[in-house]
């Protein structure tokens, strides 16, 4: 096709009606502690990886809750599974297990629209 110099810009809006909650539901079922996240960011503050690369472990929880599976898949690769986030978490979320569960299940739930 001829290139006219225009591109289609992907909508930045999170459209909740397109939400695919299958990965989220599976993780909540296997690691219920994940439900009580307060988004305080303590995990990100202490994160070893975040000090070296652009990685925000708090956003993992958000991406999961908004069904952003593709981004999630590339993001979690940066986690070194050191577990410091779990030491800091005021609500005792087993974040390392959450990341392990994402790693295990993300392929299964990847869809076209995510």
């Amino acid at each position: 096709m001829k290139d006219f110099g225009f591109t289609v810009v992907k909508q930045r809006t999170i459209d909740y009606d397109q939400f695919d909650g299958r990965l989220l539901n599976e993780i909540i079922e296997k690691e219920p502690s994940f439900k009580v996240c307060l988004s305080c960011g303590g995990c990100t503050a202490t994160c070893s990886a975040a000090n070296l690369v652009s990685f925000n472990v708090r956003r993992i929880s958000l991406l999961l809750r908004r069904g952003e599976t593709t981004e999630l898949e590339s993001e979690i690769k940066k986690c070194m599974l050191c577990g410091k986030c779990m030491l800091v978490c005021p609500r005792g979320i087993n974040l390392r297990n959450v990341i392990m569960l994402i790693k295990k299940n993300v392929q299964k739930h990847k869809t076209e629209n995510s």
């Binding site: 930045r12 809006t13 999170i14 909740y16 009606d17 439900k35 809750r65 908004r66």
Partner: protein, 340 residues
């Protein structure tokens, strides 16, 4: 025997009257409505433990029944004058009362959600306030939406008319956060299939058990909390509502379709409190609530001698805080009268 006039027969007025009667005084409560109980009459169940509001009101009233104080209902205060240490109170019912002290317990008004036009209250069918929802949550309340359908997705909007200078209210109404969480849980219990979202700016779980309820809402009832303030709601042809907000933690705009939108309306000082300030000649804060003589030791004193303050006419307050504030008002009045 000393005589005390209490303006307002809500829970603050009733509890102050009851405690002052116990202390051996003669008390007259002036209430503008036909019924005592004030805004508590609008509520069905109270945080943090879902106690029926009726029960709290009846317990307060039954304590009063054994006591002897007069109630002037459907009556408003017209003028108050103080001469030689005596207050002369004239009412809309032409009564003239002589009192040794006056307690202002005029309470609050709920924010009129129509003023936030962008949320569509009274314009769209399925936008309700937290006060409306209380009635819908009664056992015989109707929770269905268009065409008798059960709502599948419900959103709560926190801070409607609070922390909002555009509405003229810069302050926090304090109780809406926990009210929203309580109502979200109650809705989830009634409609287990529904998805429930709370749009908040901050969640202020200041009181006893509040944080635990918040946690329970997440853990047990799957209520989702999204940080961001709604910019607008618009009604679709099927009467569902498209809402827009920023997911501020993700830093991206967000839209979703909901079947029911609940506005957690805040508290305002209201006309009753404003007119009490005028008739008593006492000052208001910029929020419209009455000014207390100081913030710590004299929270029941107005700046005028002999005029005391009880309850949510001084600031947004929960039911339990109001009752405690009312009791302390009664104690201050009693101590002050002894010194006269």
């Amino acid at each position: 025997m000393k005589h005390i006039v209490i303006i307002g027969g809500g829970i603050a007025g009733i509890e102050t009257a009851s405690a002052l009667t116990d202390a051996g005084h003669w008390v007259t409560v002036i209430e503008k409505e036909a019924e005592l109980g004030g805004k508590l009459n609008k509520w069905s169940y109270l945080f943090p433990d879902y106690t029926p509001a009726d029960k709290v009101k009846n317990d307060l009233l039954s304590k009063c029944r054994e006591k002897d104080f007069s109630i002037l209902s459907k009556t408003e205060v017209r003028t108050i004058q103080r001469t030689n240490g005596k207050f002369y109170v004239e009412t809309s019912g032409e009564q003239k009362l002589e009192a040794d002290a006056v307690v202002v317990a005029t309470g609050y008004e709920l924010f009129d959600a129509r003023r936030k036009e962008e949320y569509g209250y009274k314009i769209y069918d399925h936008v309700v306030t937290s006060a409306d929802l209380e009635q819908m949550l009664l056992p015989d309340g109707d929770l269905t939406v268009a065409e008798g359908k059960t709502p599948k997705r419900i959103a709560f909007v926190h801070c409607v008319g609070s922390r909002d200078e555009k509405s003229g209210n810069h302050y926090c109404s304090k109780v809406c956060c926990i009210t929203g969480v309580k109502q979200a849980i109650e809705l989830k219990k009634r409609l287990p299939e529904a998805e429930i979202y709370c749009f908040y700016m901050d969640l202020r779980m200041y009181g006893k058990h509040f944080e635990e309820i918040y946690r329970e809402a997440q853990e047990k009832y799957d209520i989702q909390f999204i940080r961001g303030r709604l910019s607008e709601a618009s009604e679709k042809i099927d009467k569902s509502l498209l809402i827009k907000a920023e997911d501020t933690l993700a830093g991206r705009p967000l839209k979703m379709n909901v079947d029911l939108l609940v506005l957690l309306v805040g508290m305002e000082a209201g006309k009753g409190t404003a007119s009490a300030a005028t008739t008593c000649g006492i000052g208001c804060e910029s929020s419209g609530f009455l000014k207390t003589a100081d913030s710590f030791l004299q929270s029941n004193f107005s700046e005028k001698e002999g005029v005391f303050l009880a309850g949510s006419c001084t600031a947004p307050m929960s039911v339990n805080d109001t009752i405690v504030h009312a009791r302390s008002a009664a104690m201050e009045v009693n101590n002050w009268l002894k010194k006269q």
